[in-house]
Symmetry: C2
Subunit: 147 residues, 2 copies
């Protein structure tokens, strides 16, 4: 287990405990897989990856673990149109760039969306979470089309 793995495991354990959830190898695995490949995978993609090292894990467990990780504030999900939910372990404030060509999702540094959060929410509305997704064409796909 390398340094990143150790750190991820420590993070999971700490957050799960803080939320009164059990720390299980599966939850640690799911989190580590998500941190290792921050490409916003679907639950099934995550499942397939984890199965390579832990063949006995089930897809339902991946969903359950993801929900536990969301509950303890380590993971957020990204909804794109009618597609499968995608997951993100970057909890820094950022928004997502969704490429309509290759379907990739790229984290984008925030720069002022924090500002957007405070922008004119009428009194009574309480903001807890901001999802901002820009849809368009990513750099790779832009380049490919032009070529």
């Amino acid at each position: 287990m390398n340094v990143d793995d150790r750190k991820a495991t420590a993070t999971v354990n700490q957050h799960l405990a803080a939320s009164g959830l059990r720390r299980t190898p599966q939850r640690q695995q799911v989190y580590k897989a998500l941190v290792a490949h921050p490409d916003h995978p679907t639950a099934e993609q995550l499942f397939l990856r984890i199965k390579q090292t832990t063949p006995k894990i089930s897809l339902a467990t991946v969903y359950n673990c993801l929900d536990a990780l969301i509950a303890c504030g380590l993971v957020r999900q990204v909804a794109v149109d009618r597609g499968a939910a995608r997951f993100c372990a970057n909890m820094d404030e950022h928004f997502h760039f969704h490429c309509e060509s290759c379907n990739s999702i790229t984290d984008m540094p925030l720069k002022g969306a924090a500002l957007a959060r405070k922008l004119g929410l009428p009194r009574g509305f309480q903001a807890r979470r901001l999802d901002m997704t820009v849809h368009g064409t990513c750099r790779t796909c832009s380049a490919r089309v032009r070529a």
Copy 2:
């Protein structure tokens, strides 16, 4: 047919024609139903509403019509976590407030998200569409909890 209906029908016909799509009663119905109740319904809710006046319409047709309306720029869809897609006929720039308590979606005037659109997208990325959703508790639900 009242003034709003007439106007909505004219809008649909115009946009469909401009995109080379046929104007059909079903597409007009779906658009009118969406404009009449701007509560961001799911495809099925829309289907149930339309069925009251047009009992023969099918759910598949509602999906098809929605896709046609999206294609011609009259409708956008709003994805929320793992729930069913919801639809919005307000094409003015705005963001969505999703209430995690009652699951309602409220249109919010933009104020500066246009700014967010230009915020630091690295060169090569082309923005075509911005989805911004604030999740939290709406006014009604905030009031109910406090009471």
